[in-house]
Symmetry: C2
Subunit: 421 residues, 2 copies
């Protein structure tokens, strides 16, 4: 075996400036490091028994990996938006405990026993389902991302929030178990031969958050869901039942789902007129901008996840998603979009409208970087630059900003949110 060969990468790990010394340092640790040579307290006795946490929480050392809000972002009497700590996560699944929240009148407590779901409207017999009724219908499992339409909204006006959690953290990705909405519409007698071309969906909270969904989507992949990542939905995600509208903006994923009305036209509710429409440069608005276009972000390194080592091997990672289907490719740039390298995609076993993890296993030379990622989806769509997006959409909107994000990485490994022209 060649010593040169076997030491090559290890040497680089210790820093490009002193390869040989680095190698020795790594090997010497075993001799001089008390964490290796001495019996530690944790190897000397009994640790904690299984009674300690019937339902467990993260270890105390991970106490910073939590949802966080930005107080000035919402003027509500109680804070109504927080953000997933995406800078500290890896893989694709978002644990419910740190999956972002967005409430329009707070998170309510609703017992399964008190839960009712009404279906009424055009061409259907009015029906009311209890939670126990819902458990008797055939159900499915799917992994989908849920992204707030306002995710990255502050970036329209410039680089204001210094962290991937805050610029891109209004997203989560879970395995949902639920009943296809078409099953319940069929149960109520909907047969397609009526004037019912939309459904209006609302929640049991004070805001009700009513939204109109075209019947074509309602009959396609919308789920009436009651489990996420295997267990019951959390209170803050709509316990006991929420709507899952794959690939479409999170505001339509009605929590504490109370009613589904078949209508002949869109209701034009508050949540789809004064809110969740996109105001353009000339003051007019785009509406029915439901689909979340392809988007990606580098989560590490990023302002909250700086590089903590010297030059040498560096894993650049992030996530990509598209409301139109599968992510087919992600490119990464270290120079603000001048040159690009194609990243390696993680698990891609067929989930559509779900987060895709990407990795660029690279060598960092220790110099500054302008890190970007650029997603492509199965429709051929390519994630736009911020300049391209502003040219079409102006600066007046807070919704549907899917532009390429830039992190400026300094020579000391720290990073900040910047714009490149």
């Amino acid at each position: 075996m060649s010593d040169d060969l076997k030491l090559s990468r290890r040497a680089v790990l210790a820093g490009s400036a002193a390869a040989a010394a680095g190698t020795l340092a790594t090997q010497a640790r075993a001799e001089g490091d008390p964490l290796i040579t001495e019996v530690q307290e944790w190897a000397s006795g009994l640790g904690e028994g299984v009674d300690a946490t019937p339902y467990g929480l993260p270890i105390e050392f991970e106490a910073d990996v939590v949802r966080r809000n930005v107080p000035w972002l919402t003027a509500d009497p109680i804070s109504s938006i927080n953000f997933t700590p995406i800078h500290a996560l890896d893989g694709t699944i978002t644990p419910q405990g740190c999956a972002f929240e967005r409430h329009h009148s707070g998170a309510i407590e609703l017992r399964k026993e008190d839960y009712r779901l009404m279906i009424n409207g055009l061409g259907v017999s009015p029906l009311v389902f209890t939670y126990a009724d819902l458990e008797r219908f055939p159900r499915e499992n799917h992994v989908y991302f849920c992204e707030c339409a306002a995710n990255t909204g502050m970036e329209w006006a410039g680089a204001q929030l210094n962290g991937a959690q805050f610029t891109h953290g209004m997203i989560h990705n879970m395995e949902y178990t639920g009943i296809p909405l078409r099953t319940l519409l069929n149960e109520a007698g909907y047969d397609g031969a009526t004037e019912g071309r939309w459904v209006y969906v609302e929640g049991a909270d004070a805001s009700s958050n009513g939204r109109s969904i075209p019947m074509e989507k309602a009959l396609d992949d919308v789920l009436v869901a009651f489990k996420a990542n295997g267990e019951a939905l959390r209170k803050e995600h709509g316990y006991p039942v929420r709507l899952v509208v794959p690939g479409w903006e999170g505001n339509m994923w009605i929590k504490w789902l109370r009613r589904i009305e078949v209508t002949d036209a869109a209701v034009e509710s508050r949540e789809e007129t004064s809110k969740y429409t996109d105001t353009l440069a000339d003051g007019t608005s785009r509406k029915w901008t439901w689909v979340m276009d392809a988007k990606s972000v580098v989560t590490s390194p990023s302002p909250q996840a700086p590089i903590t080592h010297g030059p040498g091997p560096l894993v650049i990672t992030g996530m990509a998603w598209s409301g139109h289907g599968r992510i087919t490719r992600v490119d990464v740039s270290k120079d603000g979009g001048i040159t690009w390298e194609t990243a390696r995609l993680g698990r891609t076993q067929g989930d559509t409208k779900a987060l895709t993890r990407f990795y660029l296993d690279t060598e960092w030379d220790g110099s500054e970087m302008l890190l970007q990622s650029r997603a492509m989806d199965e429709t051929g769509y390519v994630q736009p630059t911020k300049a391209q997006l502003r040219e079409v959409r102006g600066l007046n909107s807070v919704y549907h900003n899917n532009c390429i994000q830039t992190w400026h990485v300094n020579t000391d490994g720290s990073a900040e949110n910047v714009e490149v022209s």
Copy 2:
């Protein structure tokens, strides 16, 4: 639209004895049910803000969906086994918070800063990795099940534990992020041209729980993992780093992974001789029984998840898995294995050595059932009956019981653990 058509299933939902009345009851609720007709307290004001739970827990109404132990099962000074509440879960992902624990000297607290992983032995240069070092190697994401070899072990002697959580709950299924072990072995210079044919792996806890793994497996799909379901491993699952040995018994998935030694032969440690070998009827033992064979269990209905409604539509669900690869088919019997119906499989997007959810959407006629499920995997292997397994393996073992499980469902919907001859 035909009223007969549109009411057919709804009618059945209300019970086969009074279809028309049942339909009316479902429809009348909208008129007479204050939960529908009156504005409820939770729709009248503000719910909880997002500051309430930076890291969330399940809602209080789900307080029974927790890990539970069986005090008489372990004689340790602290309880060392608990069980995943599989009867209450759906889909495939197991949340870390309720994923079973098995400790040999308790769960220890080990900071990332104090973490060291040594690789040494035949044909490698001794190396020590810090946690920060590990973060610089290319990593992968995979969903795998982890099952304790003793799962279902009490069933060898008969139907002793009345609940799927206790008979089959020493299993969980998570999305792991980690580095292929082969990457780290290569880093240490292992090139295959040595007498190193095994690795001996051990943890940082007092038990150290050392196990021998053939090099062929070590170079195949074993991961040195640091994330599960997107976030850091929990303390009780080996924070900050554990071994993931896909499809093989959980005891080999070393937690708090401390050392990997390349050896010429198996170490024949305590954990692979006096424990984790299978004692046969004649007193001799099978050893190196690493792979978890194909297995399944109905999780609902089951003793802890009784049927709470009358005759009519019933969803029978459960999970199946195989250490040899993919589940290709699951059959369900209602009559103790005399007749079988093929179940519908949930997500099957390519994950191998992972849990597969199955559903049988059926009609319950209200009579007693002897519910069973039978899994088949891509090798053609069929899950055996308890009698078949006992014939080959006797009654002396506690390990590797993958027999078909039977639940006796009574006319009132309650269920209990039974054996059928």
